[in-house]
Symmetry: C2
Subunit: 172 residues, 2 copies
DNA sequence: TATTGTTATACTCTATAACTATA
DNA sequence: TATAGTTATAGAGTATAACAATA
């Protein structure tokens, strides 16, 4: 933990002058703005970020139960209902009864759902290119590497981080 | 905009396999988790992130009007009322009438407010050290530099970014 | 007429707990 | 009795618009 102190004056300096930028604040600002803009991108495809996330999870592994998807994405069961309702009424997902246990509803992507996700992923891809504008491949990899170390410091297991898309921020 | 494509397979690959991590999603995840944890830190000092942000703004420049602080932090006027109400009833801030224009309420930090902010800044400082654990000074500077380029790409003027603290995320 | 602060209100989001149907 | 899904409800947070005082 050698770093930060080197650049930080005294406490009083903090209060009166307010010194250099912090990683924490910058991350919060950027994370929020990024989530906002990604919501706009997803919206162009008729999806909210959470809809996108659910479709994405199903593309990764089709036939999951509603609950296991929710657990995976940290979405409570009651919220999952309205999300899947929306996706189902839009014809993107189907609820199938599981013959072995008729309590559970197994979720399947429809063809339309897969097509919609493909489009939305194209949008996400463009969004990613936009926020990494002017980055070389090496710089982007460097940023990802640093961010994953921050994630570790925050106690977010790297493995629990989904792999693509732009977040499931609530708030807007 | 050369980078991302190099590492990205076809669209179909996206849908079926879901490839590598994205800067966008990682930033959203980290930004949200960081805001959560900073809210806990601020809470240890009896402050919500927005309370902290207002105190911080006043420490930077005392005697601002309620509205100009709100504009500065993108907090709507009606929300500023309840924030300042809270800070005032806690004895951290005072509303003074401006003799030249008796519509405006000028905000002043009290001694207690300044002391509270000093404590909270110490907490923020520790929080910053925590999320930058194991970073060298050079790595931290590198991360900040990359993040500011992302901020620019997101259309957030670097100048509009406050300098310390950990964000004013709503959402929880 | 425009502006600062205030109040009241409506809206969104989320979480909690109760309910059903299965097991 | 426990679990998957559903429903209903209440709470927090935010934004919108009307209002008062002042300019």
């Amino acid at each position: 933990m050698p770093t930060f102190d080197d650049q930080c004056p005294t406490q009083e300096h903090f209060v009166t002058r307010v010194p250099q930028k912090s990683v924490g604040f910058t991350l919060s600002q950027i994370g929020l703005e990024n989530a906002r803009q990604f919501a706009l991108v997803a919206g162009q495809f008729g999806l909210e970020p959470r809809h996108f996330a659910v479709l994405h999870a199903l593309a990764d592994r089709d036939g999951l139960s509603q609950q296991s998807v929710g657990d995976n994405l940290s979405i409570p069961a009651s919220t999952m209902v309205s999300i899947v309702d929306h996706l189902e009424s839009a014809g993107l997902v189907e609820r199938h009864l599981e013959p072995h246990d008729r309590r559970t509803r197994v979720l399947h992507l429809t063809g339309a759902g897969r097509a919609r996700l493909t489009d939305a992923l194209r949008g996400a891809h463009e969004h990613e290119a936009r926020i990494c504008f002017n980055f070389t491949a090496i710089e982007r990899a460097e940023l990802l590497s640093l961010l994953e170390r921050v994630a570790t410091n925050l106690g977010i297991a790297p493995n629990s981080l989904p792999d693509h898309g732009s977040g499931t921020h609530p708030e807007h």
